[in-house]
Symmetry: C2
Subunit: 328 residues, 2 copies
Protein backbone atom coordinates (compact mmCIF):
# COMPACT_ATOMS: atom_id res chain seq x y z
CA UNK A 1 0.00 0.00 0.00
CA UNK A 2 1.70 3.24 -1.11
CA UNK A 3 1.91 5.98 1.50
CA UNK A 4 -0.41 8.88 0.74
CA UNK A 5 0.93 12.42 0.81
CA UNK A 6 -0.66 15.32 2.63
CA UNK A 7 -2.24 16.50 -0.65
CA UNK A 8 -3.67 13.06 -1.41
CA UNK A 9 -5.13 12.79 2.08
CA UNK A 10 -6.66 16.24 1.71
CA UNK A 11 -8.30 15.11 -1.54
CA UNK A 12 -9.61 12.01 0.22
CA UNK A 13 -11.13 14.15 2.94
CA UNK A 14 -12.64 16.56 0.42
CA UNK A 15 -14.33 13.72 -1.45
CA UNK A 16 -15.82 12.49 1.82
CA UNK A 17 -16.89 16.01 2.81
CA UNK A 18 -18.66 16.41 -0.53
CA UNK A 19 -20.71 13.28 0.12
CA UNK A 20 -22.09 14.52 3.43
CA UNK A 21 -25.66 15.78 3.51
CA UNK A 22 -25.38 18.60 6.00
CA UNK A 23 -28.31 20.47 4.49
CA UNK A 24 -31.49 18.81 5.67
CA UNK A 25 -34.64 20.04 7.41
CA UNK A 26 -35.02 22.00 9.60
CA UNK A 27 -32.95 24.30 7.39
CA UNK A 28 -32.91 27.04 10.01
CA UNK A 29 -30.62 24.70 11.98
CA UNK A 30 -28.62 22.86 9.32
CA UNK A 31 -28.07 25.54 6.70
CA UNK A 32 -25.82 27.51 9.09
CA UNK A 33 -23.92 24.29 9.84
CA UNK A 34 -23.44 23.57 6.13
CA UNK A 35 -22.39 27.21 5.66
CA UNK A 36 -19.55 27.07 8.20
CA UNK A 37 -18.47 23.57 7.16
CA UNK A 38 -18.13 24.70 3.54
CA UNK A 39 -16.41 27.98 4.38
CA UNK A 40 -13.02 26.44 3.89
CA UNK A 41 -10.05 26.43 6.20
CA UNK A 42 -6.90 24.37 5.97
CA UNK A 43 -8.58 21.05 6.94
CA UNK A 44 -5.40 20.44 8.88
CA UNK A 45 -6.98 18.45 11.70
CA UNK A 46 -8.87 15.88 9.58
CA UNK A 47 -5.76 15.33 7.46
CA UNK A 48 -3.79 14.68 10.65
CA UNK A 49 -6.36 12.10 11.72
CA UNK A 50 -5.92 10.32 8.39
CA UNK A 51 -2.11 10.50 8.77
CA UNK A 52 -2.35 9.04 12.27
CA UNK A 53 -4.20 6.04 10.87
CA UNK A 54 -1.90 5.56 7.90
CA UNK A 55 1.16 5.74 10.16
CA UNK A 56 0.19 2.40 11.68
CA UNK A 57 -0.31 0.65 8.37
CA UNK A 58 -4.09 0.89 7.98
CA UNK A 59 -5.80 2.47 4.97
CA UNK A 60 -6.40 6.11 5.91
CA UNK A 61 -10.01 6.08 4.73
CA UNK A 62 -10.86 3.92 7.77
CA UNK A 63 -10.39 7.10 9.80
CA UNK A 64 -12.63 9.33 7.65
CA UNK A 65 -15.54 9.51 10.12
CA UNK A 66 -13.10 10.31 12.96
CA UNK A 67 -11.51 12.96 10.75
CA UNK A 68 -14.95 14.45 10.16
CA UNK A 69 -15.68 14.36 13.91
CA UNK A 70 -12.54 16.38 14.51
CA UNK A 71 -13.28 18.88 11.74
CA UNK A 72 -16.87 19.38 12.90
CA UNK A 73 -15.68 19.80 16.49
CA UNK A 74 -13.17 22.41 15.36
CA UNK A 75 -15.87 24.32 13.49
CA UNK A 76 -18.27 24.03 16.44
CA UNK A 77 -15.63 25.70 18.61
CA UNK A 78 -15.16 28.46 16.02
CA UNK A 79 -18.90 29.16 15.87
CA UNK A 80 -19.20 29.54 19.64
CA UNK A 81 -15.84 31.34 20.08
CA UNK A 82 -16.85 33.87 17.43
CA UNK A 83 -19.93 34.69 19.51
CA UNK A 84 -17.82 35.08 22.66
CA UNK A 85 -15.30 37.24 20.78
CA UNK A 86 -18.06 39.19 19.01
CA UNK A 87 -16.21 38.52 15.76
CA UNK A 88 -18.03 39.72 12.63
CA UNK A 89 -15.86 37.80 10.14
CA UNK A 90 -14.36 34.34 9.81
CA UNK A 91 -12.25 33.44 6.79
CA UNK A 92 -13.34 36.72 5.23
CA UNK A 93 -17.04 35.85 5.43
CA UNK A 94 -19.72 36.72 8.01
CA UNK A 95 -19.58 34.54 11.13
CA UNK A 96 -22.56 32.27 11.75
CA UNK A 97 -24.09 34.44 14.49
CA UNK A 98 -23.65 37.66 12.53
CA UNK A 99 -25.29 36.07 9.51
CA UNK A 100 -28.05 34.05 11.20
CA UNK A 101 -28.40 35.64 14.66
CA UNK A 102 -27.22 34.80 18.16
CA UNK A 103 -29.75 32.05 18.96
CA UNK A 104 -29.04 30.21 15.73
CA UNK A 105 -25.30 30.56 16.35
CA UNK A 106 -25.64 28.90 19.74
CA UNK A 107 -27.98 26.15 18.54
CA UNK A 108 -25.97 25.48 15.38
CA UNK A 109 -22.82 25.03 17.51
CA UNK A 110 -24.69 22.67 19.82
CA UNK A 111 -25.91 20.43 17.05
CA UNK A 112 -22.42 20.39 15.52
CA UNK A 113 -20.93 19.18 18.81
CA UNK A 114 -23.50 16.37 18.83
CA UNK A 115 -22.82 15.57 15.15
CA UNK A 116 -19.12 15.28 16.00
CA UNK A 117 -20.01 12.52 18.48
CA UNK A 118 -22.28 10.97 15.89
CA UNK A 119 -19.41 10.71 13.37
CA UNK A 120 -17.11 9.37 16.07
CA UNK A 121 -19.66 6.65 16.87
CA UNK A 122 -19.48 5.51 13.26
CA UNK A 123 -15.99 4.16 13.99
CA UNK A 124 -17.37 1.63 16.51
CA UNK A 125 -16.54 -1.33 14.27
CA UNK A 126 -12.99 -0.14 13.58
CA UNK A 127 -11.64 0.54 17.06
CA UNK A 128 -12.65 0.30 20.72
CA UNK A 129 -15.32 2.98 21.00
CA UNK A 130 -14.56 3.63 24.67
CA UNK A 131 -11.00 4.56 23.79
CA UNK A 132 -12.07 6.91 21.00
CA UNK A 133 -14.58 8.51 23.35
CA UNK A 134 -12.08 8.91 26.18
CA UNK A 135 -9.63 10.70 23.90
CA UNK A 136 -12.35 12.83 22.34
CA UNK A 137 -14.03 13.78 25.64
CA UNK A 138 -10.74 14.63 27.30
CA UNK A 139 -9.80 16.84 24.34
CA UNK A 140 -13.21 18.52 24.18
CA UNK A 141 -13.08 19.34 27.89
CA UNK A 142 -9.55 20.71 27.51
CA UNK A 143 -10.65 22.97 24.67
CA UNK A 144 -13.43 24.42 26.87
CA UNK A 145 -11.04 24.83 29.79
CA UNK A 146 -8.53 26.54 27.49
CA UNK A 147 -11.21 28.90 26.21
CA UNK A 148 -12.23 29.69 29.82
CA UNK A 149 -8.59 30.36 30.74
CA UNK A 150 -8.15 32.56 27.67
CA UNK A 151 -11.18 34.64 28.69
CA UNK A 152 -9.93 34.81 32.32
CA UNK A 153 -6.54 36.05 31.11
CA UNK A 154 -8.15 39.16 29.64
CA UNK A 155 -9.20 40.22 33.13
CA UNK A 156 -5.94 39.28 34.85
CA UNK A 157 -2.60 41.10 35.06
CA UNK A 158 -0.66 38.31 36.80
CA UNK A 159 -0.72 35.62 34.10
CA UNK A 160 2.50 33.58 34.07
CA UNK A 161 4.26 31.99 31.11
CA UNK A 162 3.56 28.43 32.33
CA UNK A 163 -0.14 29.32 32.61
CA UNK A 164 -0.02 30.63 29.07
CA UNK A 165 1.68 27.50 27.75
CA UNK A 166 -1.02 25.38 29.43
CA UNK A 167 -3.77 27.56 27.95
CA UNK A 168 -2.48 27.19 24.37
CA UNK A 169 -1.95 23.49 24.96
CA UNK A 170 -5.60 23.15 25.96
CA UNK A 171 -7.15 25.56 23.51
CA UNK A 172 -5.16 24.68 20.39
CA UNK A 173 -2.68 21.85 20.81
CA UNK A 174 -4.97 19.28 22.48
CA UNK A 175 -7.10 19.05 19.34
CA UNK A 176 -4.03 18.50 17.14
CA UNK A 177 -2.92 15.71 19.48
CA UNK A 178 -6.40 14.19 19.62
CA UNK A 179 -6.82 14.22 15.83
CA UNK A 180 -3.61 12.22 15.48
CA UNK A 181 -4.53 9.93 18.38
CA UNK A 182 -7.97 9.06 17.03
CA UNK A 183 -6.42 8.13 13.70
CA UNK A 184 -3.72 6.14 15.50
CA UNK A 185 -6.28 4.21 17.55
CA UNK A 186 -8.12 3.26 14.35
CA UNK A 187 -4.74 2.39 12.82
CA UNK A 188 -4.14 -0.04 15.67
CA UNK A 189 -1.36 1.83 17.48
CA UNK A 190 -0.02 0.54 20.79
CA UNK A 191 -0.73 2.55 23.94
CA UNK A 192 2.88 3.76 23.96
CA UNK A 193 2.84 4.90 20.33
CA UNK A 194 -0.48 6.60 20.92
CA UNK A 195 1.11 8.67 23.68
CA UNK A 196 4.02 9.53 21.40
CA UNK A 197 1.81 10.68 18.55
CA UNK A 198 -0.28 12.71 21.01
CA UNK A 199 2.80 14.49 22.37
CA UNK A 200 4.12 15.00 18.86
CA UNK A 201 0.85 16.74 17.97
CA UNK A 202 0.64 18.77 21.15
CA UNK A 203 4.18 20.06 20.85
CA UNK A 204 3.79 20.92 17.19
CA UNK A 205 0.59 22.74 18.17
CA UNK A 206 2.29 24.70 20.93
CA UNK A 207 5.30 25.48 18.70
CA UNK A 208 2.88 26.72 16.05
CA UNK A 209 1.23 29.05 18.55
CA UNK A 210 4.56 30.44 19.77
CA UNK A 211 5.49 31.01 16.12
CA UNK A 212 2.17 32.77 15.60
CA UNK A 213 2.95 35.11 18.50
CA UNK A 214 6.39 35.75 17.01
CA UNK A 215 5.01 36.48 13.55
CA UNK A 216 2.40 38.86 14.88
CA UNK A 217 5.12 41.12 16.25
CA UNK A 218 8.25 40.32 14.26
CA UNK A 219 6.97 38.76 11.06
CA UNK A 220 7.55 40.27 7.67
CA UNK A 221 4.13 41.75 6.75
CA UNK A 222 4.40 40.40 3.20
CA UNK A 223 4.70 36.77 4.42
CA UNK A 224 2.57 37.15 7.57
CA UNK A 225 -0.30 38.45 5.48
CA UNK A 226 -1.42 41.15 7.88
CA UNK A 227 0.02 44.16 9.67
CA UNK A 228 2.31 43.26 12.56
CA UNK A 229 1.83 44.55 16.08
CA UNK A 230 -1.85 43.60 16.41
CA UNK A 231 -1.30 41.60 19.60
CA UNK A 232 0.52 44.56 21.19
CA UNK A 233 -2.21 47.02 20.26
CA UNK A 234 -4.87 44.66 21.64
CA UNK A 235 -2.99 44.14 24.92
CA UNK A 236 -2.93 40.41 24.30
CA UNK A 237 -1.06 38.16 26.65
CA UNK A 238 1.35 36.36 24.34
CA UNK A 239 4.47 34.30 24.76
CA UNK A 240 6.50 37.41 23.99
CA UNK A 241 4.86 39.65 26.56
CA UNK A 242 4.87 37.06 29.33
CA UNK A 243 8.47 36.10 28.66
CA UNK A 244 9.41 39.77 28.73
CA UNK A 245 7.66 40.28 32.08
CA UNK A 246 9.49 37.22 33.36
CA UNK A 247 12.94 38.47 32.30
CA UNK A 248 12.53 42.19 32.93
CA UNK A 249 14.02 44.00 35.92
CA UNK A 250 11.71 46.08 38.10
CA UNK A 251 12.01 49.29 36.11
CA UNK A 252 11.57 47.64 32.68
CA UNK A 253 8.59 45.72 34.00
CA UNK A 254 7.06 48.99 35.16
CA UNK A 255 7.72 50.48 31.73
CA UNK A 256 5.94 47.57 30.03
CA UNK A 257 3.02 47.70 32.43
CA UNK A 258 2.55 51.40 31.75
CA UNK A 259 2.02 50.73 28.07
CA UNK A 260 -0.44 47.91 28.80
CA UNK A 261 -2.58 49.87 31.23
CA UNK A 262 -6.03 50.19 29.62
CA UNK A 263 -6.35 53.84 30.60
CA UNK A 264 -3.08 54.83 28.92
CA UNK A 265 -3.86 56.28 25.53
CA UNK A 266 -0.92 56.37 23.19
CA UNK A 267 -0.56 56.20 19.45
CA UNK A 268 -0.61 52.62 18.15
CA UNK A 269 2.63 52.97 16.25
CA UNK A 270 4.38 54.50 19.24
CA UNK A 271 3.25 51.66 21.50
CA UNK A 272 4.29 48.97 19.02
CA UNK A 273 7.72 50.50 18.58
CA UNK A 274 8.29 51.00 22.31
CA UNK A 275 7.29 47.43 23.20
CA UNK A 276 9.24 45.95 20.31
CA UNK A 277 12.37 47.78 21.40
CA UNK A 278 11.94 46.46 24.95
CA UNK A 279 11.44 42.95 23.51
CA UNK A 280 14.62 43.32 21.48
CA UNK A 281 16.55 44.64 24.47
CA UNK A 282 15.47 41.60 26.51
CA UNK A 283 16.22 39.16 23.69
CA UNK A 284 12.60 38.04 23.50
CA UNK A 285 12.57 37.30 19.76
CA UNK A 286 15.48 34.95 20.25
CA UNK A 287 13.93 33.39 23.38
CA UNK A 288 10.66 32.71 21.55
CA UNK A 289 12.45 31.24 18.56
CA UNK A 290 14.41 29.00 20.92
CA UNK A 291 11.26 27.90 22.76
CA UNK A 292 9.61 27.09 19.43
CA UNK A 293 12.62 25.11 18.25
CA UNK A 294 12.83 23.18 21.51
CA UNK A 295 9.18 22.21 21.23
CA UNK A 296 9.68 21.24 17.60
CA UNK A 297 12.77 19.21 18.50
CA UNK A 298 10.94 17.33 21.26
CA UNK A 299 8.00 16.75 18.96
CA UNK A 300 10.28 15.14 16.40
CA UNK A 301 11.81 12.93 19.08
CA UNK A 302 8.34 11.62 19.89
CA UNK A 303 7.71 10.93 16.22
CA UNK A 304 11.09 9.19 15.93
CA UNK A 305 10.26 6.97 18.91
CA UNK A 306 7.18 5.52 17.21
CA UNK A 307 7.47 1.95 15.94
CA UNK A 308 6.59 2.58 12.29
CA UNK A 309 8.60 2.70 9.05
CA UNK A 310 10.18 6.04 8.18
CA UNK A 311 8.33 6.34 4.90
CA UNK A 312 5.00 6.47 6.76
CA UNK A 313 6.36 9.20 9.00
CA UNK A 314 7.25 11.32 5.98
CA UNK A 315 3.84 13.00 5.55
CA UNK A 316 3.85 13.97 9.24
CA UNK A 317 7.35 15.41 8.98
CA UNK A 318 6.35 17.35 5.88
CA UNK A 319 3.26 18.69 7.64
CA UNK A 320 5.29 19.77 10.69
CA UNK A 321 7.80 21.45 8.37
CA UNK A 322 5.06 23.22 6.48
CA UNK A 323 3.49 24.46 9.72
CA UNK A 324 6.68 25.52 11.44
CA UNK A 325 8.99 26.80 8.76
CA UNK A 326 7.03 29.88 7.90
CA UNK A 327 9.38 32.84 7.64
CA UNK A 328 9.73 34.73 10.89
CA UNK B 1 -34.51 -7.57 45.23
CA UNK B 2 -37.36 -5.29 46.40
CA UNK B 3 -38.63 -2.81 43.83
CA UNK B 4 -37.64 0.76 44.67
CA UNK B 5 -40.27 3.49 44.65
CA UNK B 6 -39.95 6.81 42.90
CA UNK B 7 -38.95 8.44 46.21
CA UNK B 8 -36.28 5.84 46.91
CA UNK B 9 -34.83 6.23 43.43
CA UNK B 10 -34.80 10.00 43.87
CA UNK B 11 -32.83 9.54 47.11
CA UNK B 12 -30.42 7.24 45.30
CA UNK B 13 -29.86 9.86 42.64
CA UNK B 14 -29.41 12.62 45.21
CA UNK B 15 -26.72 10.64 47.02
CA UNK B 16 -24.89 10.16 43.74
CA UNK B 17 -25.30 13.83 42.83
CA UNK B 18 -23.81 14.84 46.19
CA UNK B 19 -20.69 12.79 45.48
CA UNK B 20 -19.92 14.53 42.21
CA UNK B 21 -17.14 17.10 42.18
CA UNK B 22 -18.54 19.64 39.74
CA UNK B 23 -16.54 22.47 41.28
CA UNK B 24 -12.98 22.23 40.09
CA UNK B 25 -10.59 24.64 38.38
CA UNK B 26 -11.03 26.63 36.24
CA UNK B 27 -13.81 27.88 38.50
CA UNK B 28 -14.94 30.43 35.93
CA UNK B 29 -16.13 27.42 33.92
CA UNK B 30 -17.23 24.89 36.52
CA UNK B 31 -18.79 27.08 39.19
CA UNK B 32 -21.65 28.04 36.83
CA UNK B 33 -22.13 24.37 36.02
CA UNK B 34 -22.25 23.44 39.72
CA UNK B 35 -24.66 26.35 40.24
CA UNK B 36 -27.23 25.16 37.70
CA UNK B 37 -26.84 21.50 38.66
CA UNK B 38 -27.59 22.32 42.31
CA UNK B 39 -30.45 24.69 41.52
CA UNK B 40 -32.97 21.94 41.96
CA UNK B 41 -35.69 20.79 39.65
CA UNK B 42 -37.79 17.66 39.81
CA UNK B 43 -34.95 15.31 38.75
CA UNK B 44 -37.64 13.52 36.78
CA UNK B 45 -35.38 12.37 33.94
CA UNK B 46 -32.65 10.71 36.01
CA UNK B 47 -35.29 8.93 38.10
CA UNK B 48 -36.86 7.63 34.88
CA UNK B 49 -33.46 6.30 33.79
CA UNK B 50 -33.17 4.41 37.08
CA UNK B 51 -36.74 3.10 36.69
CA UNK B 52 -35.94 1.92 33.17
CA UNK B 53 -33.06 -0.15 34.50
CA UNK B 54 -34.98 -1.56 37.45
CA UNK B 55 -37.86 -2.55 35.17
CA UNK B 56 -35.66 -5.20 33.59
CA UNK B 57 -34.49 -6.67 36.86
CA UNK B 58 -31.14 -4.99 37.28
CA UNK B 59 -30.17 -2.91 40.34
CA UNK B 60 -31.07 0.69 39.48
CA UNK B 61 -27.73 2.06 40.67
CA UNK B 62 -26.11 0.47 37.62
CA UNK B 63 -27.81 3.24 35.63
CA UNK B 64 -26.62 6.13 37.83
CA UNK B 65 -24.01 7.49 35.37
CA UNK B 66 -26.58 7.33 32.54
CA UNK B 67 -29.09 9.10 34.82
CA UNK B 68 -26.50 11.80 35.43
CA UNK B 69 -25.80 12.09 31.70
CA UNK B 70 -29.50 12.72 31.11
CA UNK B 71 -29.78 15.26 33.94
CA UNK B 72 -26.68 17.15 32.81
CA UNK B 73 -27.97 17.14 29.23
CA UNK B 74 -31.31 18.52 30.40
CA UNK B 75 -29.57 21.30 32.31
CA UNK B 76 -27.26 22.04 29.37
CA UNK B 77 -30.34 22.59 27.23
CA UNK B 78 -31.86 24.88 29.87
CA UNK B 79 -28.69 27.00 30.06
CA UNK B 80 -28.59 27.55 26.30
CA UNK B 81 -32.38 27.88 25.88
CA UNK B 82 -32.43 30.55 28.60
CA UNK B 83 -29.93 32.56 26.55
CA UNK B 84 -32.05 32.16 23.41
CA UNK B 85 -35.21 33.10 25.32
CA UNK B 86 -33.42 35.95 27.13
CA UNK B 87 -34.84 34.53 30.36
CA UNK B 88 -33.64 36.28 33.52
CA UNK B 89 -34.86 33.63 35.96
CA UNK B 90 -34.88 29.85 36.22
CA UNK B 91 -36.45 28.12 39.22
CA UNK B 92 -36.74 31.53 40.85
CA UNK B 93 -32.99 32.20 40.65
CA UNK B 94 -30.87 34.09 38.10
CA UNK B 95 -30.16 32.11 34.93
CA UNK B 96 -26.53 31.20 34.26
CA UNK B 97 -26.00 33.84 31.58
CA UNK B 98 -27.64 36.60 33.59
CA UNK B 99 -25.50 35.73 36.60
CA UNK B 100 -22.18 34.98 34.88
CA UNK B 101 -22.48 36.65 31.46
CA UNK B 102 -23.26 35.49 27.93
CA UNK B 103 -19.86 33.98 27.08
CA UNK B 104 -19.77 31.95 30.27
CA UNK B 105 -23.35 30.82 29.64
CA UNK B 106 -22.41 29.49 26.22
CA UNK B 107 -19.17 27.86 27.37
CA UNK B 108 -20.75 26.38 30.50
CA UNK B 109 -23.46 24.77 28.36
CA UNK B 110 -20.83 23.40 25.99
CA UNK B 111 -18.80 21.76 28.73
CA UNK B 112 -22.00 20.31 30.23
CA UNK B 113 -22.90 18.69 26.91
CA UNK B 114 -19.44 17.11 26.84
CA UNK B 115 -19.73 16.05 30.49
CA UNK B 116 -23.01 14.33 29.64
CA UNK B 117 -21.13 12.19 27.10
CA UNK B 118 -18.41 11.61 29.68
CA UNK B 119 -20.93 10.20 32.16
CA UNK B 120 -22.55 8.12 29.44
CA UNK B 121 -19.12 6.64 28.59
CA UNK B 122 -18.84 5.44 32.17
CA UNK B 123 -21.50 2.85 31.39
CA UNK B 124 -19.26 1.13 28.82
CA UNK B 125 -18.84 -1.97 31.00
CA UNK B 126 -22.57 -2.30 31.70
CA UNK B 127 -24.09 -2.13 28.24
CA UNK B 128 -23.08 -1.88 24.57
CA UNK B 129 -21.69 1.64 24.36
CA UNK B 130 -22.64 2.01 20.70
CA UNK B 131 -26.29 1.44 21.59
CA UNK B 132 -26.21 3.97 24.43
CA UNK B 133 -24.54 6.48 22.12
CA UNK B 134 -27.01 5.91 19.31
CA UNK B 135 -29.96 6.55 21.59
CA UNK B 136 -28.30 9.55 23.21
CA UNK B 137 -27.14 11.15 19.93
CA UNK B 138 -30.51 10.67 18.31
CA UNK B 139 -32.24 12.26 21.29
CA UNK B 140 -29.76 15.16 21.50
CA UNK B 141 -30.21 15.94 17.81
CA UNK B 142 -33.98 15.79 18.19
CA UNK B 143 -33.86 18.25 21.09
CA UNK B 144 -31.89 20.72 18.93
CA UNK B 145 -34.27 20.22 16.02
CA UNK B 146 -37.23 20.76 18.34
CA UNK B 147 -35.70 23.96 19.66
CA UNK B 148 -35.08 25.15 16.09
CA UNK B 149 -38.70 24.35 15.16
CA UNK B 150 -39.96 26.15 18.28
CA UNK B 151 -37.99 29.27 17.30
CA UNK B 152 -39.21 29.00 13.70
CA UNK B 153 -42.82 28.78 14.89
CA UNK B 154 -42.56 32.25 16.44
CA UNK B 155 -42.01 33.71 12.97
CA UNK B 156 -44.64 31.60 11.21
CA UNK B 157 -48.41 31.94 11.00
CA UNK B 158 -49.10 28.65 9.20
CA UNK B 159 -48.00 26.15 11.85
CA UNK B 160 -50.15 23.01 11.83
CA UNK B 161 -51.14 20.78 14.74
CA UNK B 162 -49.08 17.81 13.46
CA UNK B 163 -46.03 20.09 13.22
CA UNK B 164 -46.66 21.18 16.79
CA UNK B 165 -46.96 17.62 18.03
CA UNK B 166 -43.67 16.76 16.33
CA UNK B 167 -41.99 19.81 17.86
CA UNK B 168 -43.02 18.90 21.42
CA UNK B 169 -42.06 15.30 20.78
CA UNK B 170 -38.58 16.44 19.77
CA UNK B 171 -38.09 19.21 22.28
CA UNK B 172 -39.56 17.55 25.36
CA UNK B 173 -40.73 13.99 24.88
CA UNK B 174 -37.61 12.57 23.18
CA UNK B 175 -35.56 13.13 26.32
CA UNK B 176 -38.15 11.36 28.48
CA UNK B 177 -38.09 8.41 26.10
CA UNK B 178 -34.29 8.40 25.93
CA UNK B 179 -33.90 8.50 29.73
CA UNK B 180 -36.06 5.40 30.02
CA UNK B 181 -34.33 3.70 27.09
CA UNK B 182 -30.82 4.25 28.43
CA UNK B 183 -31.87 2.71 31.72
CA UNK B 184 -33.57 -0.14 29.88
CA UNK B 185 -30.46 -0.87 27.79
CA UNK B 186 -28.38 -1.08 30.98
CA UNK B 187 -31.12 -3.24 32.49
CA UNK B 188 -30.74 -5.64 29.57
CA UNK B 189 -34.06 -5.00 27.80
CA UNK B 190 -34.78 -6.63 24.45
CA UNK B 191 -34.92 -4.45 21.36
CA UNK B 192 -38.70 -4.74 21.32
CA UNK B 193 -39.10 -3.77 24.98
CA UNK B 194 -36.72 -0.88 24.45
CA UNK B 195 -39.02 0.44 21.72
CA UNK B 196 -42.04 0.03 23.99
CA UNK B 197 -40.45 1.92 26.88
CA UNK B 198 -39.33 4.64 24.48
CA UNK B 199 -42.85 5.09 23.14
CA UNK B 200 -44.28 4.98 26.66
CA UNK B 201 -41.95 7.85 27.59
CA UNK B 202 -42.57 9.85 24.46
CA UNK B 203 -46.32 9.64 24.77
CA UNK B 204 -46.30 10.52 28.44
CA UNK B 205 -44.09 13.46 27.53
CA UNK B 206 -46.43 14.65 24.80
CA UNK B 207 -49.47 14.16 27.02
CA UNK B 208 -47.75 16.19 29.71
CA UNK B 209 -47.14 19.03 27.27
CA UNK B 210 -50.75 19.02 26.06
CA UNK B 211 -51.83 19.10 29.70
CA UNK B 212 -49.47 22.02 30.28
CA UNK B 213 -51.11 23.91 27.42
CA UNK B 214 -54.53 23.11 28.89
CA UNK B 215 -53.55 24.26 32.38
CA UNK B 216 -52.08 27.51 31.11
CA UNK B 217 -55.48 28.53 29.76
CA UNK B 218 -58.05 26.52 31.73
CA UNK B 219 -56.21 25.55 34.92
CA UNK B 220 -57.36 26.64 38.35
CA UNK B 221 -54.80 29.30 39.30
CA UNK B 222 -54.51 27.87 42.82
CA UNK B 223 -53.36 24.47 41.53
CA UNK B 224 -51.55 25.69 38.41
CA UNK B 225 -49.40 27.97 40.51
CA UNK B 226 -49.45 30.94 38.18
CA UNK B 227 -51.93 33.19 36.45
CA UNK B 228 -53.72 31.53 33.54
CA UNK B 229 -53.80 32.99 30.05
CA UNK B 230 -50.05 33.58 29.71
CA UNK B 231 -49.79 31.59 26.48
CA UNK B 232 -52.62 33.59 24.93
CA UNK B 233 -51.08 36.93 25.93
CA UNK B 234 -47.71 35.85 24.51
CA UNK B 235 -49.24 34.69 21.20
CA UNK B 236 -47.82 31.22 21.76
CA UNK B 237 -48.66 28.45 19.35
CA UNK B 238 -50.16 25.81 21.61
CA UNK B 239 -52.22 22.69 21.13
CA UNK B 240 -55.32 24.74 21.96
CA UNK B 241 -54.69 27.49 19.43
CA UNK B 242 -53.66 25.16 16.61
CA UNK B 243 -56.60 22.85 17.25
CA UNK B 244 -58.92 25.86 17.23
CA UNK B 245 -57.52 27.07 13.91
CA UNK B 246 -58.00 23.56 12.56
CA UNK B 247 -61.65 23.33 13.63
CA UNK B 248 -62.73 26.93 13.06
CA UNK B 249 -64.83 28.03 10.09
CA UNK B 250 -63.52 30.90 7.96
CA UNK B 251 -65.08 33.68 10.00
CA UNK B 252 -64.03 32.28 13.39
CA UNK B 253 -60.53 31.73 12.06
CA UNK B 254 -60.41 35.36 10.97
CA UNK B 255 -61.60 36.42 14.41
CA UNK B 256 -58.81 34.41 16.10
CA UNK B 257 -56.19 35.72 13.72
CA UNK B 258 -57.22 39.28 14.45
CA UNK B 259 -56.47 38.81 18.14
CA UNK B 260 -53.10 37.20 17.37
CA UNK B 261 -51.92 39.88 15.00
CA UNK B 262 -48.85 41.51 16.63
CA UNK B 263 -49.99 45.02 15.71
CA UNK B 264 -53.38 44.61 17.39
CA UNK B 265 -53.19 46.18 20.83
CA UNK B 266 -55.97 45.06 23.13
CA UNK B 267 -56.22 44.70 26.88
CA UNK B 268 -54.76 41.40 28.11
CA UNK B 269 -57.88 40.39 29.99
CA UNK B 270 -60.10 41.17 26.98
CA UNK B 271 -57.95 39.06 24.70
CA UNK B 272 -57.83 36.13 27.14
CA UNK B 273 -61.59 36.17 27.58
CA UNK B 274 -62.29 36.48 23.85
CA UNK B 275 -59.98 33.61 22.90
CA UNK B 276 -61.19 31.43 25.77
CA UNK B 277 -64.77 31.89 24.68
CA UNK B 278 -63.86 30.93 21.11
CA UNK B 279 -62.02 27.87 22.48
CA UNK B 280 -65.11 26.91 24.52
CA UNK B 281 -67.40 27.41 21.53
CA UNK B 282 -65.21 25.08 19.45
CA UNK B 283 -64.91 22.49 22.22
CA UNK B 284 -61.14 22.90 22.41
CA UNK B 285 -60.82 22.17 26.13
CA UNK B 286 -62.56 18.86 25.57
CA UNK B 287 -60.53 18.09 22.43
CA UNK B 288 -57.27 18.73 24.27
CA UNK B 289 -58.33 16.61 27.22
CA UNK B 290 -59.23 13.83 24.81
CA UNK B 291 -55.91 14.10 22.99
CA UNK B 292 -54.08 13.95 26.30
CA UNK B 293 -56.05 10.91 27.42
CA UNK B 294 -55.49 9.11 24.12
CA UNK B 295 -51.76 9.67 24.40
CA UNK B 296 -51.83 8.50 27.99
CA UNK B 297 -53.85 5.44 27.05
CA UNK B 298 -51.46 4.48 24.25
CA UNK B 299 -48.51 5.07 26.57
CA UNK B 300 -49.97 2.64 29.08
CA UNK B 301 -50.52 0.05 26.34
CA UNK B 302 -46.82 0.23 25.52
CA UNK B 303 -45.96 -0.23 29.18
CA UNK B 304 -48.37 -3.17 29.42
CA UNK B 305 -46.73 -4.83 26.41
CA UNK B 306 -43.33 -4.97 28.09
CA UNK B 307 -42.20 -8.40 29.29
CA UNK B 308 -41.62 -7.55 32.95
CA UNK B 309 -43.49 -8.29 36.18
CA UNK B 310 -46.25 -5.87 37.12
CA UNK B 311 -44.67 -4.93 40.42
CA UNK B 312 -41.68 -3.46 38.57
CA UNK B 313 -44.01 -1.44 36.37
CA UNK B 314 -45.65 0.08 39.44
CA UNK B 315 -43.18 2.97 39.92
CA UNK B 316 -43.58 3.93 36.25
CA UNK B 317 -47.36 3.89 36.52
CA UNK B 318 -47.21 5.97 39.68
CA UNK B 319 -44.90 8.46 37.95
CA UNK B 320 -47.20 8.73 34.92
CA UNK B 321 -50.15 9.25 37.25
CA UNK B 322 -48.32 11.93 39.17
CA UNK B 323 -47.39 13.75 35.98
CA UNK B 324 -50.76 13.49 34.28
CA UNK B 325 -53.37 13.71 36.97
CA UNK B 326 -52.79 17.31 37.88
CA UNK B 327 -56.11 19.09 38.18
CA UNK B 328 -57.20 20.67 34.93
Amino acid sequence: MPVKSSEELLMLFFQYLEQQKFEKPPYSLYEPMAYIMRLGGKRLRPVLALMGCQLFGQPPDKALPAAMAVEIFHNFSLVHDDIMDQAPLRRGQPTVHSRYGLSTGILCGDVMLIEAYEYLSQCYDRAPLILLLKVFNRMAIEVCEGQAADMDFEQRSDVTLPEYMLMIEQKTAALIGAALQLGAIIGGASEKDRQHINLFGRMIGQAFQVQDDLLDTFGAPETFGKKTGGDIVQNKKTFLLLKALELADASTRKQIETYYRPEVACAEEEKIEAIKSIFLRLGIEEAARKAKEELQEKALQHLAAIAAPDERKEPLLAMADMLLHRST
